[in-house]
């Protein structure tokens, strides 16, 4: 089994930003804010965030903010709750939350809560438990959870629970590890984990580990490095992580590295991208891989960043 190619991954992440000549990366510009979060959090976990020009990033982020308080995925793009969380998380990484007009951002998020407790992603009204997590996580980071009806938010999430113990996008939606992370994360942040049957959900989650050691996100799917994050963080939050084989999972993630040019892919020998590089490194961090900063399973930020937010240092 190889080791984590830390230096290569740092170089890879720094290089991605400079790519302007291929269609695939240019056509993804609408989610650059998410990309910034994935790339920069990875650098921080690897202990290399100082390679970044903070002022440049912060001023770009603030150019993505709208009058409404929400952030777009890039300059000139419409605001959405998905990008608002990434913006807040990146600012938190750099300890720059003070540049925000907190009232404005939190009003934007609180304004997206619906009567039934659910959250829309933006003014166009698509509802998803992902947006519930984002709203709760973001407001918690900004110390403004009191701006929403937490009780209703929790009961909406609980209404998306399936008989298999998992959660979907909306009531009746199929259980999916990504959605489960969002729901468990939101319940963890609001102190509502008692709504979860931990044995039942833990059972479903640990059935995601396939023979090769990797995790899939749904039954009968191939393993994918990103679920190292979604499944693992959920198992940790409900205290059932000992039900999977950690050693096998570490090996699977390390096998997905491009040891020559850096970066991590979804499965061994596939093409790498920033998204999977982040989830691979974050997964290894949850698995306590040596040399990595610890990451918080609910806030998806390094533990020292979370501590600074809640304990002042």
């Amino acid at each position: 089994m190889g080791e984590l190619a830390t230096e290569k991954h740092v170089q890879y992440i720094l290089s991605v930003e400079k790519r302007k000549d291929d269609f695939i990366s240019v056509a993804m510009e609408y989610l650059r804010m998410n990309g910034a979060y994935w790339g920069l959090t990875t650098l921080d976990l690897l202990g290399k965030l100082d390679a970044i020009d903070v002022d440049e990033v912060v001023s770009w982020i603030m150019k993505c903010q709208h009058e409404s308080g929400g952030f777009g995925g890039n300059i000139g793009h419409d605001p959405h709750i998905l990008y608002t969380l990434s913006a807040v998380q990146v600012l938190a990484l750099f300890d720059k939350l003070n540049v925000l007009d907190v009232e404005k951002v939190t009003n934007y998020i609180a304004g997206l809560q619906n009567e039934d407790g659910s959250f829309s992603g933006d003014e166009w009204g698509e509802v998803d438990t992902r947006f519930s997590y984002i709203a709760i996580c973001c407001l918690s980071i900004l110390h403004h959870l009191n701006k929403i009806n937490v009780e209703k938010a929790v009961s909406y999430i609980v209404s998306c629970k399936n008989l298999d113990g998992g959660f979907g996008c909306t009531p009746g939606g199929e259980s999916h590890a990504g959605q489960i992370f969002c729901c468990v994360g939101a319940l963890a942040i609001t102190g509502s984990l008692h709504h979860i049957d931990k044995d039942l959900l833990g059972w479903w989650l640990c059935e995601r580990q396939v023979k090769a050691g990797g995790l899939n996100g749904r039954p009968e799917k191939l393993p994918d490095v990103c679920y190292s994050w979604w499944v693992l963080s959920s198992l940790i939050m409900i205290d059932r992580v000992h039900w999977i084989s950690k050693e096998k999972l570490v090996k699977f993630i390390l096998d997905c590295q491009d040891t020559e040019n850096g970066g991590i892919s979804d499965r061994p020998d596939d093409a790498v991208d920033v998204y999977h590089t982040y989830f691979g490194v974050a997964g290894l961090s949850l698995l306590e891989y040596p040399g990595l900063k610890a990451i918080d399973p609910a806030y998806a930020l390094p533990v020292d960043v979370v501590n600074k937010i809640f304990f002042g240092r």
């Binding site: 609408y30 000139g76 166009w124 298999d164 996008c169 009746g172 199929e174 749904r218 009968e220």
Partner: protein, 417 residues
């Protein structure tokens, strides 16, 4: 002679490329499939679909269009995208600067936004701002046929990007917008359902697609739900590894269950019997598939659901005074029969004839963990049935599971002490 476009060269100016691209879309509103193709394949495509009267192809075309299939050369994607984005951002910027109330429909700015957003979305399907701009303009008009055009554009985007979150979400926005304003909602739902099935055929276990189909259920009439159950059965039987379709069936079945519980007070026993039959039939069908397709996780998970609901639904009814006594007895007898049947199924599926066969090992694992899952979830029912409780003692299952699935030993240890 069939229509044909495509004589520009990659070195054409980006703006010209965009015009050409938009012109093709404008000229052939029936285009139902878009794809990105390496130009070397254009000649082959033409050859395959050729007829004698065809004109000769240029050496390096940017676009290819015939029989309403539209191919875009991979060589022009980047300049084309840049031009489309520039044009779109300029148009929507101007539109927003003036304000939607000032812009008059006929003055061309709206159609500019619509034209360029369409071009952009065919190149970058999750460019949310472009979808939003269309919602802004379409919602101002409140014209059913314009709403329906949005479904067509979304379908075209899905033809090459079947997982596009925004394209699916745009459909839901359209349906929510027209609900209550049009008489053809059930017809629209039927077509939506068919679209998901069509896309699911070539994009396996597509979560976004099936999630959309599940979302439709709450808008369906009971008749529609029953038809969907009938229709999706065939598909599920041909795609036994696709958990999405089985989940869809679960939603349909739960909807029927929910409808009946709402009507409980004046519902006849006939209603309950109908559901009873539905469940029985599904359980029987599932067992047939399990025996036919060895080691399929989705089938066993479906059985967990069916059995748990069956117990919750019909075993509680044993104590329900509102049921007539004849029915009570038959259902109560069925419970014992049911558990015996499950034990028999476990028995027939848990023998591994040759340890080299992974499928049989998987089948044994799934069957034993199914049984364990069921006993854990239905302990309240089992505790009343000492005879079967004995047969289901954890010891036997633990021995079996530790043998066929040692990699999850810590789970088995935690669950069975």
């Amino acid at each position: 002679m069939k229509k044909k476009e495509g004589s520009s060269y990659p070195e054409s100016k980006p703006v010209d490329l965009l015009h050409q691209f938009e012109h093709i879309l404008e000229a052939d509103p029936l285009i139902d499939e878009v794809g990105f193709i390496h130009p070397s394949q254009f000649a082959k495509l033409t050859e395959e679909a050729d007829d004698a009267t065809d004109i000769p192809t240029s050496e390096c075309p940017s676009f290819w269009n015939r029989d309403h299939k539209f191919g875009v050369s991979t060589l022009v994607l980047l300049p084309l995208y840049n031009a489309a984005k520039l044009a779109f951002m300029a148009a929507i910027g101007e539109y927003k600067r003036l304000g939607p109330d000032v812009v008059v429909s006929g003055d061309g700015l709206e159609s500019e936004v619509m034209k360029h957003s369409r071009a952009l979305l065919l190149l970058s399907p999750d460019f949310g701002t472009a979808w939003n701009s269309r919602k802004l303009i379409v919602s101002k008009k409140q014209d059913l046929s314009i709403f329906m055009d949005e479904l067509l554009l979304s379908e075209l985007v899905l033809s090459y990007s079947p997982k596009s979150d925004h394209a699916w979400s745009h459909r839901r926005w359209v349906i929510k917008s027209v609900t209550g304003k049009c008489s053809t909602l059930q017809e629209i739902l039927r077509k939506e359902s068919e679209l998901v099935e069509k896309i699911a055929e070539r994009s396996k276990m597509n979560y976004r697609a099936w999630n959309h189909r599940c979302w439709l259920v709450s808008y369906m009439t009971r008749e529609r739900v029953l038809q969907e159950l009938k229709k999706s059965k065939n598909w599920a039987g041909l795609h036994v590894a696709d958990n999405c379709c089985f989940h869809y069936r679960r939603q349909l079945m739960l909807r029927i269950l929910k409808d009946s519980s709402c009507k409980q007070e004046n519902a006849s026993a006939g209603y309950a019997i109908e559901i009873y039959k539905l469940w029985k039939e599904e359980l029987h069908w599932n067992e047939t598939l399990i025996k036919q397709y060895i080691g399929r996780e989705a089938l066993w998970l479906h059985r967990r659901f069916l059995s748990l609901c069956w117990m919750k639904q019909f075993v509680t009814d044993v104590n329900d005074v509102s049921c007539n006594s004849e029915q009570k007895i038959s259902i109560s007898n069925d419970f014992g029969f049911f558990i015996s049947n499950e034990l028999q199924l476990l028995h027939s599926c848990s023998s591994v004839p040759n340890s080299d066969f992974d499928d049989f090992k998987a089948q044994a694992t799934f069957s034993a963990s199914y049984m364990l899952w069921l006993t854990k979830q239905s302990s309240e029912f089992l505790s009343k049935d000492s005879e079967h409780q004995e047969k289901l003692t954890a010891g036997n299952l633990k021995t079996l599971l530790s043998k066929v699935c040692p990699e999850r030993s810590s789970l088995w240890d935690s669950l069975m002490g």
